[in-house]
């Protein structure tokens, strides 16, 4: 019978094919992951560039004098694209595969620096140009349902009020000294915590309540 000849090898043959199919699956998964990371890398770089350009423009205005008006629209663009990157980052952050990898940590760090830079710039801008921004610092925790929910509430808020600037910061991100600096400055203990125009609010707060705070 044909069976006798192959019987011995059947388990081996099946195992080899299985390993191939399994590996193909891993490849499909990692190709998709790489695509996502690449896309993220691109937007982090873009933000970096925009923040820097904004910084230079502000220095220019400081030194040579100029119109504060022209800069208002710039602020909006920068803040929007930083917020978008933040959203992408959070989505990836909640997926186990990315957290902890060097690439991801690098991106997260860069993004965070851009955010703090933007925060400082805005504060400066408020002083030099006499404008007033509604800035919300959002301290969150990774994989923390209430933090995720707060994130969605803030997304909703910016959709309604594009002028509001939201800077989200992973409060436990010890790799970046800037985070410790901010956490100490505002004495952050739990997540989510919002700093709305220098006022501290702990725990989840709905979109309507944030609006009340701002107005």
């Amino acid at each position: 019978m044909v069976a006798e000849r192959y019987k011995k090898y059947l388990l081996g043959i099946a195992l080899i094919i299985t390993i191939f199919v399994f590996a193909a699956g891993l490849l499909v998964g990692s190709t998709f992951d790489t695509y996502q990371t690449d896309e993220l890398l691109l937007s982090v770089r873009q933000n970096e560039l925009e923040t820097q350009s904004f910084l230079v423009e502000q220095q220019f205005v400081d030194t040579f004098g100029g119109q504060c008006d022209s800069m208002t629209s710039r602020v909006e663009t920068v803040q929007k694209s930083i917020a978008e990157t933040g959203r992408k980052l959070t989505l990836l952050e909640n997926s186990l595969k990315y957290t902890g990898t060097d690439d991801f940590e690098y991106l997260k760090n860069k993004h965070l620096i851009s955010k703090v830079q933007l925060f400082t710039l805005l504060k400066n801008f408020e002083e030099t140009c006499g404008v007033n921004y509604d800035i919300i610092l959002f301290f969150y925790q990774v994989n923390h349902s209430k933090s995720i929910t707060q994130g969605f509430a803030l997304d909703e808020l910016t959709e309604k009020n594009p002028d509001i600037v939201i800077l989200s910061i992973d409060k436990d991100y010890e790799k970046e000294p800037l985070v410790s600096l901010l956490v100490a400055r505002y004495n952050i203990e739990k997540a989510p915590t919002l700093i709305i125009n220098d006022e501290k609010i702990e725990g989840f707060i709905s979109t309507e309540n944030i609006e009340n705070y701002i107005n």
Partner: protein, 411 residues
């Protein structure tokens, strides 16, 4: 983090084993397609005894006896014995009507199918013994196609490929798919000599082998699985035939289904425990090293995958509800933590394999009907139902719940 790590680990392990099993059986199917052909019996027709165990089967017994009488075989070479087991209805009366056609009747007071068949085994004269359940219907060619399997003196039992008799409701249609699918898998198992069951619907045994191993076990709920494993344990082989296709009437109510499946699961578990020394033993070849252990752990894997799927769905539902509660808005992109493209890829491959095997089965069973809704459920929900019964059976057996051979449903 740990929770997600465990989630992924389970997902990957299940995917790997699932793929391996599918690829293994498809390889057997591919390599052995020629072995699906049937042979003819060598030598003179032997004496065959057809035993029909029946417990309160007045509705179906006549049809079963008539189908046994209609099997193509020299009349002098076959005997038909109805084993009326603790019957309180008209079963015996109906069976007596066939006396003139040579149908014998044995009344057995003590209930228990194993017990009934053992009494039949003592009284019958054939070199080969057929067990034909009273809820089943034999087809004309059965003996012609089954007997050739015994050309190999090591073969002690041959099972048939059972079809579901006129499926009407969804439950019966699901079982229609199940019987067809397992029919092909059992054939493939038989090619590799790892088949370990001979269902009572219509199975044929070498009588002296049955007597040598001590007849049927009267304490196990599925004496038809146990006897097959015991024959294998004693060095015999079990074969399956795709040419022989008797019919069986499957439970058409959930209650009937529940009681049948619980009995099967308990019987399976008890049989595995009884023959546990066969596991991982080299002398039993593929059966001991691979088939028995994998059959035993497969339901655990299906249960684990149920948990994984449930976790994924609940994660999405609960997170969405949680956010809805806090913000009044629904967000759908919450499933990000559990989206895995590798797993998605493997699932697609597995579904393709499943459809291919089912297509092959339907072709081999020469079936023309097709039930799309039942077919969909067979792939999606049915494995979980089967695994559920596996667990229930294990719990009942381990807890030592009293065995009831029959209730108000068929055995």
């Amino acid at each position: 983090m740990l929770e997600l790590f465990i989630y992924r680990l389970i997902l990957y392990v299940i995917s790997f084993i699932g793929l391996f099993m599918a690829i293994f059986w498809i390889s057997v199917l591919y390599i052995e397609e020629d072995s699906l052909e049937e042979e003819t019996f060598e030598g003179k027709p032997p004496n065959v005894s057809i035993l029909i165990p029946a417990h309160n089967e007045e509705d179906v017994i006549a049809e079963t006896i008539e189908s046994a009488l209609a099997v193509n075989y020299p009349k002098t070479k076959r005997e038909i014995i109805v084993l009326a087991n603790a019957c309180t209805d008209r079963t015996e009366e109906i069976a007596k009507r066939y006396k003139e056609q040579g149908v014998k009747l044995i009344s057995i007071k003590e209930p228990g199918k194993g017990h009934a068949v053992n009494i039949g085994l003592q009284k019958q004269k054939g070199e080969f013994t057929v067990i034909l359940d009273a809820d089943s219907i034999a087809t004309h060619n059965l003996l012609e196609v089954l007997l050739p399997k015994f050309n190999d003196p090591k073969v002690a039992g041959v099972k048939t490929s059972i079809k579901v008799w006129k499926p009407n409701n969804l439950l019966e249609k699901l079982q229609w798919f199940e019987y067809i699918n397992t029919g092909l898998v059992h054939k493939l198992m038989s090619i590799l000599d790892v088949l370990y069951l001979t269902p009572g619907v219509f199975s044929i045994y070498r009588t002296d082998a049955l007597r040598k191993v001590g007849g049927f076990d009267e304490n196990i709920l599925t004496e038809d699985i146990e006897i097959a494993v015991r024959l294998l344990h004693n060095g015999y082989k079990i074969k399956s035939s795709l040419a022989a296709m008797p019919f069986t009437k499957v439970p058409h109510t959930l209650k009937g289904y529940h009681s049948q499946r619980l009995r099967w699961a308990r019987g399976f578990f008890a049989t595995m425990l009884k023959h546990k020394e066969m596991f991982f033993k080299k002398e039993f070849g593929l059966l001991g090293l691979f088939m028995l252990p994998i059959s035993f752990i497969m339901p655990i894997l299906v249960i684990l995958s149920t948990i994984v799927v449930a976790y994924t769905l609940l994660d999405i539902v609960f997170k969405s509800l949680f956010v809805k509660l806090l913000t009044g808005e629904f967000f759908y992109n919450l499933s990000a933590p559990v989206l895995d493209f590798s797993a998605l890829f493997w699932t697609v491959i597995l579904v393709i394999f499943g459809i291919y095997v089912l297509y092959k089965s339907i072709k081999l069973f020469r079936e023309k009907a097709f039930y799309p809704v039942a077919g969909f459920l067979f792939f999606t929900a049915y494995p979980f139902v089967k695994s559920f019964y596996w667990f229930l059976g294990a719990i009942y057996e381990l807890a030592g719940v009293k065995k009831v051979w029959r209730g108000d449903v068929r055995w």
